[in-house]
């Protein structure tokens, strides 16, 4: 438990460091990436390509292992179906991503700024997640 918590903390620190170096904590860069018909900023393409590339290559070593180093088992999603709910959720998320230039990672990284916009976006994101949890509960009944 303690080991997992320590590993998580370090991963969180490195994750923010990566986002910051990559320039992804600047909403203007995200909006610039989505602005393909205007003044397109392709920085995010290189960020995603290197992150996905590193994960893809290193994931091959995960497949060969029986269990993680400090936890009982790997929890890897097994779903392959495509449902309306997920795609609809993706579309809603994309709208929020484009309006604010923020997604959950950079929201956490930028929270320390403590400015009104970031506090508001964080607060409403938590409300949104709470609502989706309620939808989960209702649809499971």
């Amino acid at each position: 438990m303690i080991k997992q918590a320590v590993v998580s903390f370090i991963c969180g620190v490195v994750f923010t460091l990566g986002l910051t170096i990559a320039g992804m904590t600047q909403p203007a860069k995200i909006v610039g990436f989505l602005d393909i018909f205007g003044n397109w900023d392709f920085t995010l393409v290189f960020v995603m390509a290197s992150a996905v590339g590193v994960y893809f290559i290193s994931f091959q070593s995960i497949i060969k292992r029986n269990k993680p180093l400090v936890a009982p088992k790997f929890l890897i999603p097994t779903r392959t179906d495509l449902d309306f709910r997920s795609i609809f959720g993706g579309i809603l998320f994309g709208l929020g991503w484009g309006i604010s230039g923020l997604c959950p990672g950079p929201i956490l990284s930028s929270l320390g700024k403590g400015t009104t916009p970031i506090i508001v976006v964080m607060l409403f994101m938590l409300i949104g997640m709470f609502i989706s949890s309620r939808i989960d509960q209702l649809s499971n009944k």
Binding site: Q4, A5, V6, V7, F9, C11, G12, F15, T16, L17, T20, I21, A22, G23, Q26, A28, D35, F37, F46, V47, A49, S50, A51, V52, V54, F56, S58, L69, V70, F74, I76, P77, R85, S86, I87, G89, G90, L92, L95, G96, W97, G98, S100, L102, C103, P104, G105, L108, S109, K113, T115, V121, F124, M125, L126, M129, F130, I131, S132, I135
Partner: protein, 147 residues
């Protein structure tokens, strides 16, 4: 200066992306967990025994290092897009509900899911990128760049 290492933006993008990939890999290698930020936060909202502390420390690690980096490099944390507080509120709600329904965001689906070559994640990543492109087009073209 908009970069930390040297002054090439693309080089910094690749180093930053590599660190994101490595942090995500380590969370899987050590803890067996997908590094999906939306999922980690959403799970922390409904604490379960034995499945809570790692979420909190991950979130704390992200926030605290952000506090430090923002002090050192404030220019990398500028929010210079023209948005009202209402736009941020609506955006936050859409991000929360959307990632909740889709079971993931840019990290969980975009990095980890696509990195595992999951068709599901590839499709969801395309759906949020497409709707993001459309809403930015609407804001920049029809609304004059502000909302």
């Amino acid at each position: 200066m908009d970069t930390i290492i040297g002054n090439n933006i693309i080089f910094n993008a690749i180093i930053g992306g590599t660190l994101i990939g490595l942090a995500s890999f380590c969370l899987m290698l050590f803890n067996g967990r997908i590094a999906g930020i939306a999922g980690i936060v959403k799970g922390a909202l409904r604490p379960e025994k034995g499945n809570f502390m790692w979420r909190v420390t991950f979130i704390m690690g992200m926030i605290l290092s952000g506090v430090l980096l923002e002090r050192l490099y404030p220019q990398l944390y500028r929010m210079e897009i023209d948005r009202s507080i209402w736009a941020y509120a609506v955006a936050g709600l859409l991000i929360g509900i959307g990632t909740g329904l889709a079971n993931g965001c840019t990290s969980g689906h975009g990095v980890c899911g696509v990195g595992r070559l999951s068709n599901r994640s590839v499709t969801i990543t395309m759906s949020f990128t497409l709707s993001g492109i459309i809403v930015v087009w609407v804001i920049n073209t029809l609304l004059g760049g502000r909302i």
